[in-house]
Protein backbone atom coordinates (compact mmCIF):
# COMPACT_ATOMS: atom_id res chain seq x y z
CA UNK A 1 0.00 0.00 0.00
CA UNK A 2 1.12 3.53 -0.71
CA UNK A 3 1.38 6.28 1.87
CA UNK A 4 -1.79 7.89 0.49
CA UNK A 5 -3.73 4.71 1.04
CA UNK A 6 -2.55 4.65 4.64
CA UNK A 7 -3.56 8.29 5.12
CA UNK A 8 -7.01 7.75 3.60
CA UNK A 9 -7.67 4.63 5.65
CA UNK A 10 -6.34 6.37 8.76
CA UNK A 11 -8.83 9.18 8.13
CA UNK A 12 -11.68 6.69 7.97
CA UNK A 13 -10.52 5.15 11.26
CA UNK A 14 -10.50 8.59 12.87
CA UNK A 15 -14.06 9.16 11.66
CA UNK A 16 -15.08 5.85 13.20
CA UNK A 17 -13.40 6.69 16.51
CA UNK A 18 -15.24 10.02 16.67
CA UNK A 19 -18.53 8.53 15.54
CA UNK A 20 -18.66 5.82 18.22
CA UNK A 21 -19.15 8.10 21.23
CA UNK A 22 -21.53 10.29 19.24
CA UNK A 23 -23.76 7.35 18.42
CA UNK A 24 -23.58 6.34 22.09
CA UNK A 25 -24.72 9.82 23.04
CA UNK A 26 -27.57 9.69 20.56
CA UNK A 27 -28.69 6.30 21.82
CA UNK A 28 -28.88 7.71 25.35
CA UNK A 29 -30.84 10.81 24.40
CA UNK A 30 -33.23 9.12 21.98
CA UNK A 31 -33.28 5.60 23.34
CA UNK A 32 -31.78 4.28 20.14
CA UNK A 33 -29.33 5.33 17.49
CA UNK A 34 -30.34 4.77 13.93
CA UNK A 35 -27.79 2.28 12.69
CA UNK A 36 -26.46 1.47 9.26
CA UNK A 37 -28.57 -1.16 7.54
CA UNK A 38 -25.92 -2.20 5.08
CA UNK A 39 -23.20 -4.67 5.63
CA UNK A 40 -20.36 -4.03 5.01
CA UNK A 41 -20.97 -0.48 6.18
CA UNK A 42 -19.84 2.39 3.98
CA UNK A 43 -16.64 2.88 5.97
CA UNK A 44 -15.77 -0.82 5.84
CA UNK A 45 -16.51 -0.82 2.14
CA UNK A 46 -14.39 2.28 1.57
CA UNK A 47 -11.42 0.79 3.42
CA UNK A 48 -11.72 -2.37 1.35
CA UNK A 49 -12.03 -0.38 -1.90
CA UNK A 50 -9.01 1.79 -1.08
CA UNK A 51 -6.94 -1.29 -0.38
CA UNK A 52 -8.02 -2.93 -3.60
CA UNK A 53 -8.24 -0.08 -6.12
CA UNK A 54 -5.93 2.56 -4.69
CA UNK A 55 -6.65 5.88 -3.01
CA UNK A 56 -8.51 7.86 -5.67
CA UNK A 57 -10.66 5.13 -7.12
CA UNK A 58 -11.28 3.63 -3.69
CA UNK A 59 -12.40 6.95 -2.25
CA UNK A 60 -14.58 7.51 -5.31
CA UNK A 61 -16.29 4.13 -4.79
CA UNK A 62 -16.72 4.84 -1.09
CA UNK A 63 -18.29 8.26 -1.66
CA UNK A 64 -20.46 6.91 -4.45
CA UNK A 65 -21.87 4.35 -2.05
CA UNK A 66 -22.40 6.89 0.68
CA UNK A 67 -24.43 9.05 -1.70
CA UNK A 68 -26.51 6.06 -2.75
CA UNK A 69 -27.61 5.37 0.81
CA UNK A 70 -31.09 6.72 1.50
Amino acid sequence: MSIFQYIAIGGIWVYRGVNKPISFLISTIFGYASACKHSPTCSEYAIFAIQKYGTMRGLFYGIRRLIQCW
Binding site: I29, F30, Y32, S39, C42, C69
Partner: protein, 256 residues
Amino acid sequence: MFGSFFEAVVHPLVSLLLTMNAFTHSFGVSIFLFTLLMRSLLLPLSIQGMKSQKKMQLLKPKLDELKKKFAKEPTKLQQAQAELYKKEGINPVSGCIPYLAQFFILIVLYQALDIVLKAGDQVGVMQFFWMNLSKPDQYFVLPVIAGVSQFILSVMILPGAEKHDLIPNASKVKKVKQENKKEDDMLEMAETMQKQMIFTMPIITGIMAMKFPSGLAWYWVVSTLYSIAQQWYVSGPGALSEYARKVRAFITRAEK
Protein backbone atom coordinates in the same frame (compact mmCIF):
# COMPACT_ATOMS: atom_id res chain seq x y z
CA MET B 1 -27.51 30.79 5.37
CA PHE B 2 -27.01 27.73 7.52
CA GLY B 3 -26.74 29.92 10.59
CA SER B 4 -30.13 31.56 10.09
CA PHE B 5 -31.73 28.18 9.36
CA PHE B 6 -30.30 26.95 12.61
CA GLU B 7 -31.66 29.93 14.46
CA ALA B 8 -35.06 29.45 12.91
CA VAL B 9 -35.15 26.00 14.52
CA VAL B 10 -33.58 26.91 17.86
CA HIS B 11 -35.63 30.03 18.60
CA PRO B 12 -39.07 28.38 18.61
CA LEU B 13 -37.71 25.86 21.11
CA VAL B 14 -36.35 28.63 23.32
CA SER B 15 -39.70 30.43 23.26
CA LEU B 16 -41.48 27.15 24.01
CA LEU B 17 -39.29 26.69 27.08
CA LEU B 18 -39.92 30.26 28.20
CA THR B 19 -43.67 29.90 27.64
CA MET B 20 -43.74 26.74 29.71
CA ASN B 21 -41.85 28.56 32.38
CA ALA B 22 -44.47 31.30 32.49
CA PHE B 23 -46.84 28.62 33.79
CA THR B 24 -44.55 26.54 35.99
CA HIS B 25 -42.37 29.34 37.41
CA SER B 26 -39.53 26.86 37.87
CA PHE B 27 -37.01 25.97 35.19
CA GLY B 28 -36.44 22.56 36.72
CA VAL B 29 -40.08 21.68 36.12
CA SER B 30 -40.04 23.36 32.70
CA ILE B 31 -37.03 21.37 31.54
CA PHE B 32 -38.66 18.19 32.82
CA LEU B 33 -41.88 18.88 30.89
CA PHE B 34 -39.97 20.08 27.85
CA THR B 35 -37.95 16.85 27.73
CA LEU B 36 -41.05 14.69 28.17
CA LEU B 37 -42.77 16.59 25.37
CA MET B 38 -39.85 16.34 22.95
CA ARG B 39 -39.35 12.65 23.61
CA SER B 40 -43.04 11.92 23.27
CA LEU B 41 -43.14 13.71 19.92
CA LEU B 42 -40.24 11.54 18.77
CA LEU B 43 -41.73 8.40 20.28
CA PRO B 44 -43.42 6.96 17.15
CA LEU B 45 -40.18 7.28 15.22
CA SER B 46 -38.04 5.82 18.01
CA ILE B 47 -40.30 2.84 18.55
CA GLN B 48 -40.41 2.10 14.84
CA GLY B 49 -36.65 2.35 14.62
CA MET B 50 -36.11 0.17 17.67
CA LYS B 51 -38.46 -2.48 16.36
CA SER B 52 -36.79 -2.64 12.98
CA GLN B 53 -33.41 -2.85 14.70
CA LYS B 54 -34.66 -5.75 16.79
CA LYS B 55 -35.89 -7.51 13.66
CA MET B 56 -32.52 -6.96 12.05
CA GLN B 57 -30.79 -8.62 14.97
CA LEU B 58 -33.03 -11.64 14.54
CA LEU B 59 -32.17 -11.70 10.85
CA LYS B 60 -28.45 -11.74 11.50
CA PRO B 61 -27.96 -15.48 10.89
CA LYS B 62 -29.67 -15.18 7.52
CA LEU B 63 -27.53 -12.18 6.65
CA ASP B 64 -24.39 -14.05 7.58
CA GLU B 65 -25.47 -16.85 5.29
CA LEU B 66 -25.88 -14.41 2.41
CA LYS B 67 -22.51 -12.91 3.20
CA LYS B 68 -20.86 -16.28 2.87
CA LYS B 69 -22.74 -17.07 -0.32
CA PHE B 70 -21.80 -13.83 -2.05
CA ALA B 71 -18.43 -13.33 -0.41
CA LYS B 72 -16.79 -12.50 -3.74
CA GLU B 73 -19.60 -10.39 -5.24
CA PRO B 74 -20.39 -7.34 -3.10
CA THR B 75 -22.99 -5.89 -5.49
CA LYS B 76 -24.99 -9.11 -5.55
CA LEU B 77 -24.71 -9.31 -1.77
CA GLN B 78 -26.23 -5.87 -1.45
CA GLN B 79 -29.08 -6.77 -3.78
CA ALA B 80 -29.81 -9.95 -1.89
CA GLN B 81 -29.76 -8.00 1.37
CA ALA B 82 -32.18 -5.39 0.06
CA GLU B 83 -34.53 -8.17 -1.07
CA LEU B 84 -34.35 -9.88 2.31
CA TYR B 85 -35.21 -6.60 4.09
CA LYS B 86 -38.11 -6.04 1.76
CA LYS B 87 -39.41 -9.57 2.28
CA GLU B 88 -39.20 -9.31 6.06
CA GLY B 89 -40.76 -5.87 6.05
CA ILE B 90 -37.89 -4.04 7.67
CA ASN B 91 -38.54 -0.37 7.87
CA PRO B 92 -36.00 1.91 6.22
CA VAL B 93 -36.05 4.09 9.35
CA SER B 94 -32.55 2.90 10.03
CA GLY B 95 -29.91 4.37 7.77
CA CYS B 96 -27.68 7.38 7.61
CA ILE B 97 -30.31 10.05 6.97
CA PRO B 98 -32.26 9.37 10.20
CA TYR B 99 -28.92 9.22 11.99
CA LEU B 100 -28.00 12.67 10.72
CA ALA B 101 -31.47 13.90 11.68
CA GLN B 102 -30.96 12.61 15.23
CA PHE B 103 -27.59 14.31 15.37
CA PHE B 104 -29.18 17.56 14.22
CA ILE B 105 -31.96 17.38 16.83
CA LEU B 106 -29.39 16.63 19.53
CA ILE B 107 -27.47 19.81 18.72
CA VAL B 108 -30.60 21.95 18.38
CA LEU B 109 -31.92 20.85 21.79
CA TYR B 110 -28.54 21.47 23.36
CA GLN B 111 -28.40 24.96 21.84
CA ALA B 112 -31.88 25.86 23.05
CA LEU B 113 -31.16 24.75 26.61
CA ASP B 114 -27.78 26.46 26.55
CA ILE B 115 -29.29 29.80 25.54
CA VAL B 116 -31.87 29.65 28.33
CA LEU B 117 -29.42 28.50 31.00
CA LYS B 118 -26.89 31.15 30.01
CA ALA B 119 -29.53 33.83 30.42
CA GLY B 120 -29.88 32.52 33.98
CA ASP B 121 -31.89 34.42 36.56
CA GLN B 122 -32.91 37.11 34.05
CA VAL B 123 -35.50 34.77 32.51
CA GLY B 124 -36.85 32.94 35.54
CA VAL B 125 -36.25 30.92 38.68
CA MET B 126 -33.11 28.86 38.32
CA GLN B 127 -33.17 27.45 41.82
CA PHE B 128 -34.31 23.83 41.75
CA PHE B 129 -33.99 21.79 44.95
CA TRP B 130 -30.35 22.19 45.98
CA MET B 131 -29.13 23.34 42.56
CA ASN B 132 -28.82 26.54 40.63
CA LEU B 133 -29.60 25.17 37.18
CA SER B 134 -27.31 27.63 35.39
CA LYS B 135 -24.34 26.42 37.45
CA PRO B 136 -22.78 22.97 37.85
CA ASP B 137 -24.24 20.72 40.56
CA GLN B 138 -22.00 21.36 43.57
CA TYR B 139 -22.95 18.14 45.36
CA PHE B 140 -22.37 15.86 42.32
CA VAL B 141 -25.74 14.18 42.76
CA LEU B 142 -26.93 14.64 39.17
CA PRO B 143 -23.62 13.59 37.59
CA VAL B 144 -23.74 10.32 39.55
CA ILE B 145 -27.36 9.67 38.60
CA ALA B 146 -26.54 10.53 34.96
CA GLY B 147 -23.67 8.02 34.90
CA VAL B 148 -25.54 5.24 36.68
CA SER B 149 -28.68 5.59 34.59
CA GLN B 150 -26.65 5.60 31.42
CA PHE B 151 -24.88 2.45 32.53
CA ILE B 152 -28.23 0.75 33.12
CA LEU B 153 -29.49 1.87 29.72
CA SER B 154 -26.41 0.69 27.85
CA VAL B 155 -26.56 -2.70 29.53
CA MET B 156 -30.15 -2.93 28.32
CA ILE B 157 -29.39 -1.85 24.77
CA LEU B 158 -26.05 -3.33 23.91
CA PRO B 159 -25.69 -7.03 23.36
CA GLY B 160 -23.12 -7.94 25.97
CA ALA B 161 -24.31 -10.81 28.10
CA GLU B 162 -25.76 -12.94 25.37
CA LYS B 163 -23.37 -15.08 23.37
CA HIS B 164 -22.72 -14.33 19.74
CA ASP B 165 -22.81 -17.19 17.45
CA LEU B 166 -19.40 -17.39 16.06
CA ILE B 167 -18.71 -19.32 12.90
CA PRO B 168 -18.33 -22.99 13.82
CA ASN B 169 -14.74 -23.98 13.51
CA ALA B 170 -15.33 -27.49 12.22
CA SER B 171 -13.39 -27.37 8.98
CA LYS B 172 -10.39 -29.66 8.60
CA VAL B 173 -8.74 -27.53 5.94
CA LYS B 174 -6.01 -25.49 7.56
CA LYS B 175 -6.59 -22.35 5.51
CA VAL B 176 -10.30 -22.23 6.29
CA LYS B 177 -9.47 -22.82 9.93
CA GLN B 178 -7.10 -19.87 9.92
CA GLU B 179 -9.68 -17.66 8.25
CA ASN B 180 -12.28 -18.66 10.81
CA LYS B 181 -9.84 -17.92 13.61
CA LYS B 182 -9.24 -14.49 12.16
CA GLU B 183 -12.95 -13.79 11.99
CA ASP B 184 -13.45 -15.00 15.56
CA ASP B 185 -10.68 -12.70 16.76
CA MET B 186 -12.23 -9.71 14.98
CA LEU B 187 -15.65 -10.41 16.47
CA GLU B 188 -14.14 -10.83 19.89
CA MET B 189 -12.27 -7.56 19.58
CA ALA B 190 -15.41 -5.69 18.56
CA GLU B 191 -17.26 -7.23 21.49
CA THR B 192 -14.59 -6.28 24.03
CA MET B 193 -14.57 -2.74 22.68
CA GLN B 194 -18.31 -2.52 23.08
CA LYS B 195 -18.10 -3.87 26.61
CA GLN B 196 -15.45 -1.29 27.44
CA MET B 197 -17.73 1.45 26.13
CA ILE B 198 -20.44 0.29 28.54
CA PHE B 199 -18.11 1.06 31.43
CA THR B 200 -16.18 4.05 30.13
CA MET B 201 -19.00 6.11 28.64
CA PRO B 202 -20.99 6.50 31.89
CA ILE B 203 -17.82 7.75 33.59
CA ILE B 204 -17.25 10.27 30.81
CA THR B 205 -20.90 11.31 31.03
CA GLY B 206 -20.55 11.80 34.78
CA ILE B 207 -17.46 13.97 34.38
CA MET B 208 -19.14 16.05 31.66
CA ALA B 209 -22.23 16.47 33.82
CA MET B 210 -20.01 17.85 36.58
CA LYS B 211 -18.67 20.57 34.25
CA PHE B 212 -21.94 21.51 32.51
CA PRO B 213 -24.67 23.65 34.05
CA SER B 214 -26.85 21.37 36.17
CA GLY B 215 -29.87 22.26 34.00
CA LEU B 216 -28.25 20.34 31.16
CA ALA B 217 -27.42 17.44 33.46
CA TRP B 218 -31.03 17.45 34.62
CA TYR B 219 -32.24 17.31 31.01
CA TRP B 220 -29.79 14.47 30.41
CA VAL B 221 -31.03 12.47 33.39
CA VAL B 222 -34.71 12.89 32.48
CA SER B 223 -33.97 11.89 28.90
CA THR B 224 -32.00 8.80 29.96
CA LEU B 225 -34.77 7.67 32.31
CA TYR B 226 -37.26 8.11 29.48
CA SER B 227 -35.00 5.99 27.27
CA ILE B 228 -34.88 3.27 29.91
CA ALA B 229 -38.68 3.19 30.12
CA GLN B 230 -38.97 3.15 26.33
CA GLN B 231 -36.42 0.37 26.02
CA TRP B 232 -38.18 -1.66 28.71
CA TYR B 233 -41.48 -1.24 26.89
CA VAL B 234 -40.11 -2.39 23.53
CA SER B 235 -37.76 -5.21 24.42
CA GLY B 236 -37.84 -5.78 28.16
CA PRO B 237 -34.85 -5.64 30.46
CA GLY B 238 -32.50 -7.26 27.90
CA ALA B 239 -29.08 -8.09 29.27
CA LEU B 240 -30.03 -6.32 32.50
CA SER B 241 -31.73 -9.43 33.88
CA GLU B 242 -28.57 -11.42 33.22
CA TYR B 243 -26.50 -8.88 35.17
CA ALA B 244 -29.10 -8.79 37.95
CA ARG B 245 -28.93 -12.59 38.22
CA LYS B 246 -25.13 -12.42 38.50
CA VAL B 247 -25.32 -9.77 41.22
CA ARG B 248 -27.92 -11.79 43.14
CA ALA B 249 -25.79 -14.94 42.88
CA PHE B 250 -22.80 -12.98 44.13
CA ILE B 251 -24.74 -11.65 47.12
CA THR B 252 -26.09 -15.06 48.14
CA ARG B 253 -22.57 -16.49 47.89
CA ALA B 254 -21.23 -13.68 50.05
CA GLU B 255 -23.92 -14.31 52.65
CA LYS B 256 -23.04 -17.99 53.10
